[in-house]
Structures are given as structure tokens and as C-alpha cells.
Symmetry: D3
Subunit: 300 residues, 6 copies
Amino acid sequence: MRLPHVGLDDPRISKVQIGLIGTPWDGGTTNRPGPRHGPRQLRDASTMIRAQNGATGVRPFELVNCADLGDVGPNPASVDDSLDRMTAFYDEIVAAGIVPLSAGGDHLCSLPILRSLAKTKPLGMIHFDSHTDLFNSYFGGMQYTHGTPFRRAVEEGLLDPARVVQIGIRGTAYDFEDRDFAKSVGIRVIPIEEFHERGAEDVMAEAREIAGDGETYVSYDIDFVDPAFAPGTGTPEVGGPNSYQSIQVARMLDGVNIVGADLVEVSPPFDQSGGTAFLGVSIMFEMLCNMALAVTKREN
Amino acid sequence: MRLPHVGLDDPRISKVQIGLIGTPWDGGTTNRPGPRHGPRQLRDASTMIRAQNGATGVRPFELVNCADLGDVGPNPASVDDSLDRMTAFYDEIVAAGIVPLSAGGDHLCSLPILRSLAKTKPLGMIHFDSHTDLFNSYFGGMQYTHGTPFRRAVEEGLLDPARVVQIGIRGTAYDFEDRDFAKSVGIRVIPIEEFHERGAEDVMAEAREIAGDGETYVSYDIDFVDPAFAPGTGTPEVGGPNSYQSIQVARMLDGVNIVGADLVEVSPPFDQSGGTAFLGVSIMFEMLCNMALAVTKREN
Amino acid sequence: MRLPHVGLDDPRISKVQIGLIGTPWDGGTTNRPGPRHGPRQLRDASTMIRAQNGATGVRPFELVNCADLGDVGPNPASVDDSLDRMTAFYDEIVAAGIVPLSAGGDHLCSLPILRSLAKTKPLGMIHFDSHTDLFNSYFGGMQYTHGTPFRRAVEEGLLDPARVVQIGIRGTAYDFEDRDFAKSVGIRVIPIEEFHERGAEDVMAEAREIAGDGETYVSYDIDFVDPAFAPGTGTPEVGGPNSYQSIQVARMLDGVNIVGADLVEVSPPFDQSGGTAFLGVSIMFEMLCNMALAVTKREN
Amino acid sequence: MRLPHVGLDDPRISKVQIGLIGTPWDGGTTNRPGPRHGPRQLRDASTMIRAQNGATGVRPFELVNCADLGDVGPNPASVDDSLDRMTAFYDEIVAAGIVPLSAGGDHLCSLPILRSLAKTKPLGMIHFDSHTDLFNSYFGGMQYTHGTPFRRAVEEGLLDPARVVQIGIRGTAYDFEDRDFAKSVGIRVIPIEEFHERGAEDVMAEAREIAGDGETYVSYDIDFVDPAFAPGTGTPEVGGPNSYQSIQVARMLDGVNIVGADLVEVSPPFDQSGGTAFLGVSIMFEMLCNMALAVTKREN
Amino acid sequence: MRLPHVGLDDPRISKVQIGLIGTPWDGGTTNRPGPRHGPRQLRDASTMIRAQNGATGVRPFELVNCADLGDVGPNPASVDDSLDRMTAFYDEIVAAGIVPLSAGGDHLCSLPILRSLAKTKPLGMIHFDSHTDLFNSYFGGMQYTHGTPFRRAVEEGLLDPARVVQIGIRGTAYDFEDRDFAKSVGIRVIPIEEFHERGAEDVMAEAREIAGDGETYVSYDIDFVDPAFAPGTGTPEVGGPNSYQSIQVARMLDGVNIVGADLVEVSPPFDQSGGTAFLGVSIMFEMLCNMALAVTKREN
Amino acid sequence: MRLPHVGLDDPRISKVQIGLIGTPWDGGTTNRPGPRHGPRQLRDASTMIRAQNGATGVRPFELVNCADLGDVGPNPASVDDSLDRMTAFYDEIVAAGIVPLSAGGDHLCSLPILRSLAKTKPLGMIHFDSHTDLFNSYFGGMQYTHGTPFRRAVEEGLLDPARVVQIGIRGTAYDFEDRDFAKSVGIRVIPIEEFHERGAEDVMAEAREIAGDGETYVSYDIDFVDPAFAPGTGTPEVGGPNSYQSIQVARMLDGVNIVGADLVEVSPPFDQSGGTAFLGVSIMFEMLCNMALAVTKREN
């Protein structure tokens, strides 16, 4: 979004209120594919974003100080070490009082971010996705994959299940182990059928109510959107919301006490036209506007 | 869908209740293009389908015995011989008491299937398409093309027009000869404008009523769907339903007495990303769930 | 649309009532990219349009005499000269009593057309777009770009602002200078949020009322449509109408006293599949049907 | 190539010396795929061809009168009738003394052309292809396919086998029935291995010697070219010549007594970028230059 | 290649002489990208391969018994366990006296195969690639990646460096640590510049000499080929051989005592057209022909 | 190439010896298409370039101080002003003693660069291209287009024609006005036919001789390369060099006294895969290595 780049050791860091961060990590080993290249494509697309929200008139860059904090560097040799590095990076950001808006990367990136943000108490979460990412493990043992981050986050006490809502869940399933878990801990799952039936406005009213006034994280998986509008992702599920609804739900986060947000799973190889990334940054801009409003509100 | 492959001469054939069959035929002579490669792309995409319907919870492979019966072999040298070969193949399937779910191929494939299924009495049909496929002939004389199968089927007494409904019809037309024919024999045509106005739920309620309790065939042309969601087809028409509605209508076939179904006109060259095929198998999975319910109901 | 080609010096020109014209101009200097190639791709796609409107039954080519008047030739060396050449071309068309339906080209093409059509009095306009194209200038001084044509048209008295409506406006903005101008002169701007909320039918009823009975121009920028349905354009904005709504609004121009129309900004390099062009000609066909009705009405 | 369009009943036909003809036929029944759309894409691409051969300086349009004779209309309902219609069309052209340069369509199109051109005596042929197209039949009985035209042509006495050379043959094979036939009748087959070893210049010297001074047809299947340079075709074979060699061999037809030529098997769906078609018209332009030289030589 | 599928527990396994095996593993965690889907795309493409080598006339399926042994199943949760599972699978194959031709998967797949084949004594290797894959580690510690397999193989005594040749090496480099290692152990590296200068024939004569009469493995990384001919791979390097040379080098393995071979790094997301896979199976077919000759020779 | 970004007002500028500059200008008015986006795509691709030349072993970043000087900002409203701005920018670079390596942008960008570099005396030039760019004007009057820069440069005395060589010229032509001009002033034109016949080595020996020891500019139009290897450009011409030769000619600039170089006409919309840009930066890296050697030599 043509923001100034401010490193963590830059003196200007103390003035930053909202920081944009790239998390180019997908845990893979091949060279070109995958969400690890998402941040670069999103940065490219973000140059098309202008200063003013066409719908609400909000001018976030005038409301608060925003900066591009660069990319966090994972260690492709080790999942554990990567998680630790990312948490260390976000710890500094949190210490500096900066609200992070992150661009993934795969969905596992949300876990180390939550570890930093929820150090002192569990957060609420509004989660847009076609998958719950609440599975216990994959392939008989993998504890840390892009299908498990929020299971870990609940287990580690980073999320308050009663204040978590997941919107857009769909697709065929191996089983309902993830949904059973959601039910058992009190996470509200709104499947896509309910979303289409009730409409975005009604669903988001409920989401805001679930999140309440407490500190809340927003996690947006681009595969929430129908693949006709966002083909550039690794595990698309048909039958999702259109591009207008995708933006609308982000716009309807107004009033939520956002302490961090991310947009993940943009995978350039599957949409070389950049259309998915452009939709992604359009959604990020809506989240940013609401984050700016939240920051302003908290500071007043 | 990772089903066991069971040939017609395999002893296990007697246990099969629903058989998936590929009809890789489009009557053409060139090597690569066209729906003849649809079955292969659909099989590929079907490996992404898991065991449980995320919306309804149905687990079809546990309800009934399903098998992949392989591909039927047309004779590219002769339309007439190809039709005969396909009917012969389906005759065996019908004789074995198997309910066929076929993956085309072009829409002419539905005719030889109906010839097998409707040997003793005409069937009802719920037909999703942007075209009626009710024309008398093409190019001054072609009686057997992908624009004429249901005209032939009505003439041959394979369909009971009073129990036939066609949903999604649209596009510019040479003339209304096909619709005039529909009207004259009593086929109900629901154009896309009516579909969008009334909504999927209302339209499908009428469709189920038209089909009634009698034996019913379901034919789903992928060009029913808007080309933004299903570009991989040969005669796309803009203005169709989105991917959610495309799946919704298949899900709303519950209670219909289905004796056979097909999904046709998936044409790989026009969507090399495989997105159309993935939507296609998602639709087939919904049909399969309802076929499994119908089989279970008939057997109880 | 397989129409006869009639040059301006062809004696048959006197019989033509509606003329299709290509305006292959985008003011650029490179060889392949851009809307300048739009007319060719639209002509190609138009061969798939048949004689009868599938929804309304109108057969425009039987109602009025239509002809393809070919392409107008701009001067790539000079914006001013190009504008003059185009106006000269359209002056002849207007003198011959022909109603022009133009295929762009970029949106600046609308300006010289309006200069011909509004010689004696200002016109009303129904304008579909994601941008207002009402900016004063670009890059510190460019008066004639695809972002400014209607500012010029209002200043030159070619449009009656009270009878102008702009539908579908969206996207982030540098500022609201364009919308402030709209407000100051009385142009009605219907942003996409209002469009989605009220629906096409309600919005178009208001549009027809704003246009009233007076002579009205229709300008349709393909980027009005969501980029998932029309990716082949240079400045896409996410969150637009789907293909059905895109056609619907053109169909709902019935009763409007159309004296000219255009479809602009189809840019082949961004959709080599031709899908955008096919949607474009489908929209043009709907406009043509309503133009034919308007011509018939005026002549009776 | 921006040539004037001259119909067979146009008085200007008597002046035409070389006629460009489209043969949009691939014997298929589906709507969009295949070589039947080759002529349209080739016409589009031909607008990028300018008047002068950059390498040889020849200006063919000044040497002889060239015209675009339009497309010949096949009957998709019948292979036999299509062959007859095409022969009838070319009979008129031959009667008018016009040398035809045809753009396919599939390779079967060459047969009806040869039937017109070789009415009085068999022709020599220089044939660029990765396949011999000399098979007896396909799928147990099809006598007329794009794999058999030259078998038929030899059997019908349209070609003098001793003056036929086939260049570029490659790929895996069912068997060598075609090559055995070639050997038995005396057709010279130059496989791609020999082509790469000897080089274009040496091979073409032999080809010109085989053709001799007698009347010779040139048939150029675009799949002669390696698919990296010409992906837009239905039966590509890897390991072919590059684009430079593809043009070079056509340029080295100088001195050959060409009485007709074609370029076939350009299939737009497999190369929507138009690159294959652009290479195709570049090759056609080289053939045209040599045809113009041959016409000039014969007339002097 | 339309071969019968024979499982390891199938009694027919004892008759198999050459087995085709898929190794769908790329060590990644995301769902769609990468070489793990290579085997599927290669199997698809292999249906276009016919029984006879067009250049040499060899009919491998008549010389020896070939079968498709299916895919080996890695454990995505663990690199170490995956390597062990693959070695266990190949141990059975080796025990059955079957010569394996494997389709990757990434290049790390070669390591567990070598562990099975070189159990008793080190092998020679002819290796086509743009990278040496001889690095010690990646990212400060990863011992097992697709850039290190042959370093490990040398260290483990699976390869006899004096009988190893690497052909086609190119691209910019971090440093020459890999080449220094090659030099230190006596591996012959033929960079692409030398390949282009000397030509395929001369280089392959040297390669055959280096391999000698001893048991030799052939490893073919598709990125050996120039990306214009094989774009479907993860780490392409420009300046490679063309498709003809790519096939030629495989054909020139005649006389080599091949005991196993693989083709790796075909990555479907980067070439959805399937062209890379088609080139890949064409290369595999040439290797298969030479493997069949080697098997025949050993058995006589 | 992961170089530090150094602005013109940065104190570190005094240490820079070679500066990389983007010239994102194509004189067009539409938003997305064209070479104006070339610099961004080239920067993206350059992250894949590593520190060492794999063929020559040169490590340019250790030989000289390199920096990314950012993009020069044109004025899209005026060709004349854009040329002036660019010259002003390069004047500062020249004053700082920096050797510029520029990434276009269209070919007109070379003119303002030459105006800075050749202030005191005319330069020699080695020019790789499929077009001479020596035309006098386009469309009856345009003096400054991407087809005319070197005509202007010769007229303005920026180039010494006797020390200019153009390599790779090909394609059909309107006329030979450009080549006649070349001949009249003594520019050496090496058409592609001669290049293919003599080979890269021989041609480059002559080129180095023509340039001699004097100060020389190198201008590399990506359309020099065959479009199968570099499809991402606006005016491709078939029959060009392959990727290996494209790199080879840049590598063979060793010993040339290079005072500036550019790579132009990379147009992202025509190759969204980024393959063209990757080839482009590979060529730039070879030029950079030779520029570093030239700088070192001049300073010693």
C-alpha cells in the first residue's frame, strides 16, 4: 500500500500504530509453489489501493500511523524453530504497542502470532474460512499444519472458545472430528449454508456479538471466498461467497476491538493473473480501516 | 472418488448398487479437444472428494455399495454404432440392478442411457442445462447431436413429457422451435430469469413435484452453471447460477426416485486448471448422496 | 453479429437504422495491449449471438435495419486529432439518421460520440461503470483520458446533469473530487453498495425515471461487472455485479429513449479466453434490442 | 493479410492469381474446440503481416493479384458431402486459374483440394508434418480422417508417389503400417532425426529435387513444428524443429512449381495467446512469396 | 502407458521385469502444489504413448514384461519415515528382480531408491539436471532436501563417484561448494556450455564411457530441459537443451547397464497444459526402451 | 537482485559504481497493460539471481559497488516532459560517476538515457533486437515512439553510426526505409538469418570489433529472443534465438567498454508466469558481470 518500510530497529518504530507484516512461510520444501510467495504478490497488488475507502470514506493512513514492517524470516529446516522465530518477532511488535496486520503464508502462521498477542489473556476470534482448521492432527501425527492451528491455540489457552466464531465452513469431510471439538469447547461454527440463507449482515451482527467488547483477533483465509473469485489458493472449496460479500464481511467488523488480523493462504501459482491477490488486499484494506478505527477508539 | 474398479465380468458386480461410469464420447474426430476427455478429468478431480457430505452429513459409501465400472467404449467411426454399444453396456448394468451415475462426454450420451433405463416404461426427468436439447435437427439433417437427445427420447417414448422439467434455459436463440415443441408435449421449461427470481428452493420444490414418485432420471449439463464458475465447457451461456446454487439444486433432489443420473459436457481444454471438473464432481457427489438415499428407500 | 458491412459511402447506408461501429482506440503507443483490440475480439465473439432474444423474444434484426459500419480510424499520433476524426465520423452517422451502437476502445471514445449526438441539445445518460470518469484531470494536467470524458461532456454542455445517473461506482479512491463534482452539478451516483442492497430492478426503475422521456445515451463500461465474470479489462474493481445482473440491467433499459450506446474497455490481453468479450456482446445484444424498440417507437 | 475479399461470383475474380481460402472444418460436432476455428484465428493473426519479406525482400502483393476468397462451407452432418462441397468449391477456383493457399481446418481438408488440383494428372507433394497421414483407416473402418488423406490421395491417383516427400515424421507409433506403405509405393520419408542431423538446407535441397519441375502441392501441418513453438494443435509431438527452421523450410521452397498449398491443424483452444497462429501466418507468408514467384515464372 | 497394474502382493509380480512406480512425494505440507502430483500427470500423459519407438523401432512391451506397480506411499509427517518407507518398498522390488523406472516426486526420491539398489555395491550414475544436487545442506542444517540427495548417496557409499557424470549444470550460484565437492570425489560435471558446444552425441559417448559396463542408475530431472519446453517444474533454469536433445540423450543410453531410472521434478501447477508431462513420458519411454534392451542383454 | 536501495539524495550514492534503475514508462494511457510494469516484474524475478555467475565464476557484487537506484518517474501526460525528466535523472547518475543498467519500459526509454550518457561525445552501441527502431516516424508524424529512438539518437549525434551494430533483425516489413537509413549512415545490421548461419560466437566477435575500445552502450530488446522463450513482449517476431543464445550473446560482451546498458520491452500481461522476466534478469546478470569487469578495468 505504498507505506514506508520501517525495520524493528528503526527509531521511527515507536510512532507506528499499525504494522503490516509479511509471513512468507508455508512449511514446504519446493522452490516456487505455494503461499510462501503470497506476501510478495499481495505487496504488488497493494500498490493499486488508494487512500480512501470508497464506501465508508475512512482514510486510515490519516487516522493512524501505518508502516510496512517487512517480512518475518522463518527457518524452512524446522517447523518448531520457525514458530519460535515468528513469535519472537511478534513479541517485539506487541512490546512496541503495534497492532499487526499480517499477510500469509499458510494458516499455521496464525499460531505464533496468537502466542504473542495472547500472552496475558485469551482472545476472541472472528475467523473466515471454508475449513475450521480445528483438526487434532494430520497424517497420523502432524501436530502443526495449516489444518490444526486453532486446535493448538485453544489447547494453549490463546483463544477463548466462547468468543470464537468461524464463518463459511463447507466442503466434503473425512469426518466431523473438528466440528465435534468445536461443539465441545463452545466455538460457534456458521456453515456456508447458514451464511447464504441468513445473509452477510445478519451473520456479522451475530459475529460482533460473539466477539463482544474484548480483545479480538481476525483471521481471514482467502479460501473463504468462492474459487471463481479467488482461484489462487491451495485448498479451494466451491460454493463460497462472492467478492462483494467477501469485502462486506470485512467492512462489517466495525466496532470490533481488533488487536491483530491476518489474511492467509493466497497462493500465487494458482492465480498468476494476480486477481486473487487484488481481492486479498481489498479485503485487507477494509480490515485496516476497522483496525484504524479500533486503535483510535482505544486511544481515546 | 477412490472407489474400487469393478468390471462387468467381475464377480463382485452382483453386489454393486450404484455404479459410476465414464462415457468418453463426443462424436468428434480430432484428438485432444472436447468432452471426450471429461471423464478422465472428473476422475482426477474426484480424488479430492471425501467420505462425508459436509452439509447433510450423509456418508453415501456406507449407505450403499458403490463401484467405478470404468469407461464405456464408443466407436468414433459411427454415431449409430456408438449409440448401440452404449445401450448394450447400460443394458448389462440395468440387468445387474445397478443404478448408473455417468460422467460425460457430450449430451448425446444421455440418449443411449435412457434407451436402457426406460425399456419398459417412460421416465420422468429433472434436467439442468442452459439449452433444452430439444431441437429436431442440426445443420439440415443431423438427427443425433448434443442438441437433440431429448427430442429423440420423447419421440421414442423414453420420457414422459408431463414428468419432465428443464431448469436454467437461456441465451440467444435461432428460434423457439425447441420451446414450442416443449409446450406442445407438455414439458415444463423454467428459464433462468424465473430461476433467479424465485430462487433455487422454490424452483426445486416444483421440480420435485413434477417428477413425483415415479422413476426419474437426472441429467445435469455443466453449462447450466455460469461460465465464471464452470468455464470448461463447449457452449457456455452467461447469466447462469453460481457455484453454491449449482450444488444446492443437486442437494435438493432429496426424495426424488432417481434411477440414473449423469453430468455431461465438461470439456478439459477450456479449463486446464481443473476447477470446472472439481465443481462437477462436487455436484456428482450431491447427486450420489441422493441416489444412495433413493436406493436405500426403494430397498426398504 | 454476422451483419452486412456497409461503408459510409455505400448507397445502402440510407436504409440503415442502427449501426454497429468499432472504435479501436486507447490512446496508447505499444502494439498489442489494450482496449484498442476490443472491437476485434467483440466482433469475433458476436458470431455466437443468434437472432432472437431468449428472454424477451425480441428479434431486433427484423424490427429495424442493422448494419456493421466498420471501424473508425483514430490517429495514434494525436489525442486531439483522434477526437476530431471520431466526431467527424459520427457526424456523418447522425446526419444519416443512424443510431450508433459502438464497441470500444477505452472510455474516452464516448466523448467524441457525444459531441456528435448532442450537437443541438444536451442528452440524458445512463452510465454503468465502477468509476465515475468525472475527474478533472490525471497526472497533473491530462484533460482527455479515460477517467475524464464525462467531466468534459458536462462542461461542454453535452450532458444534462439532472438526467444523468451512474450505477455501480466502487473501489478505493484518491479522494472524492469526482463525487463532489457530481453532487455539485446534480448527477445521481448509485454506488455498488446501494445497488446490491436495493437490487437491479429497483435501481433500474430509478434510472429510467431519471432519464425520463428525453433523448438518452447509454454508456456501459465492462468494468461495471465483477472481474470474476469479466477479467478482460484494464482497471478491474472487485465486488461488482454478476453476469446475470450485468445483462439484466441492459434488458431493463426498455422504454428508454436511446439515441446511442456504447460498450467500452474490453481489453483482450487480460482475457485471452474470450469470455469477457462474449459477455460484452451479450450485453450489447440486450442494448440493441432496446434500441430497436426505441427506434420503432420513435418512428411510429 | 488485409487482402480484399472477393467472392466466387464477384467480377474481380477473373483477375485473381492467388486466392487465400479458409477451410473451417474438422469433422467434429462440438461447438468450440478444434481446427475448425483455425481459419478465424489465422485471419486475425494475419493482420500483423506486412507487405515485404524481411529476409528476401519479395513483395508478393505487388508481384501477383492476391485476394481472400472467404471460407468454404462444409456440411457438419456428413463427411462425404463435405468432401464433395469442398471439391466443388476448389473446382471453380481451378477453373478460374487461381492458385489456392488454404488455411485449415484439419488435415483431411487436403484431400478434396487435391481432387480438384489433380484432376488431369497426379501432383508431386512436399509435406511437412510429424505424422505421415498415410494410414489406411482408423478405429477399424474410418476411411476419411485426418490420419488418412494421403493414403486416399495415392490410391485415387492424385499424387505421384515418386514425387512425394514427407519431412519431420516422428513420435511413438502403433506400428509402421504407414511407413511400410510409403516404402512400397516409393514415397520418401525423412524422419525428424535425419532432419536434425542433416539440417534444413540439405533436406530441402533433396525435397526440391524430389519434386522436380512438375506441378507440386505443398502441405504444411503445424504439428511439424515443436510444440514449444506451436502448442496450438491437437496432436503435438515433441522433438520438432524450432520456429526459425519452420520458416526456413517454407522459404526454401523457392523454385518449386507450386500449384497449391495449405497450412492445417492450427487449433485455437490449445493456444489462446495466438502465438501458434502468428507462426502459422508467418509460414504462410513465406509460402505465398514462393507461390507468387512460381506464378510469375509460369506466366513468363 | 496403459500397462496392467500389478500390486506387490499380486502373484503376477514374479513375472514382471520392469516396473513403473510413482513416487508422489515432495516433502511439502500444502495441498495442491508441487511435484507430488507429478506421477498423476505423467500417468495421464502416458496414455498418448504408443507401442513402438518411432526412431529405433524398439517395441519394449514385447521385449520384456512391464507393469505399473502403483504409487509408493510416503508419510508427509516425517521425512525420515518417508525415506524408510520408500526404501522398504523398493527393497521388495529389488528382491523380486524387478528393474524400477520411477516417476517423481522431487529429487530427494532418488535417495531411498538408491539405498535399495545399491545395497551390495555402489552404482554408477548418469544424471541429467541443471543442478548438481550435491549440496551439503540447505538453510543451515537441512540434510535431506531435493538439493542434497547425491551428496548423501556418495557419503553413504551408494554411488561410485568415479562412475558418476552430471550433465547440463547451469544457473547462477550461491557458491561452488557443490562443484568443489564433485571435484574432490571425482564426479564428472558437464556444464551446459560444454554440452551446447560439443553436442549431445559427443557428450553422451563420454557419459557411456564413464558409466562403463557396471551397474548404472539413470536420474533425469526435468529441469535439465529448457523451461520453454518444460515449464512445469519448480526451479527452472534458462539456457537448457531443447526437446529434441532432451529425448536424444535418453535414446543415447543404449548399451548402458541400467539397473534403475527415474524422471523427477515434474510439477503440474506450473504447466496445466500437460505439455511438460508429455515430454516427460516421451523421455521415460526412451529410457524404458534402453532398460528393456539392458534387461534382455543381462538375461542372455 | 536483493541489492540495497539507494536514493539519489542518499549519502551512500557516492560509493555506487553500477546502479540499477527502473524506467516504468510506455507512453500509454491504460492502467494495466504493457512494458510500464516490466521493471516491477523484473525486480520480482531478480530475487532468484544468486551471487555467482555459474559459467564464468564472476561475482559482480564483490567486484564493484552495486545499488538499486529505484524507478525514474515519467509524466504520463506528456512524452516531451517524460523524456526531459528521464534525462534529468540520468544526468545526476552520470554526474555521480555511476554506470546505469536500466530495466524498461519500452524502447523509447533508451533515448533520454543516451542523451545523458552521450553529452560530450557520441557512443558506440551493440543493439540486440528484432527491429531496428530506426524508423523516421510512425502514423504520419509521431517522432518519438518505441520504433524511432535510434533514428533520433543518430540525428542528435548521440551515437556514432560507424560503431553501431544491430543484431537479430527480422520479420515482415512495411518497407526497408529503416535499413536504407542504416546503410546510408553506416550502421551495421546483422539480420537473424546471418546470425543463425554464422553462430553467436562469430557474430559477437564482429560486434566487439565494431564497438572497439570506445565507450559503448548496450541495448537489449527482449523481443530479440524467440517468443517461445520470451512471450512476454508486445511485438514478438518468430524465428529468433533460443534462451541459451540469448544469454550467450550477453556473456560475449566481455571486453566491451560498456558505459551503460538496458533491457527493455518486457511486458508482464503477455507472460503472467514470469518466465520472460526470469530470462530477462538472467540476461541482465550477464550484462552486469561484464559491466563490472569494464568498470574494474577502467578504474585500473
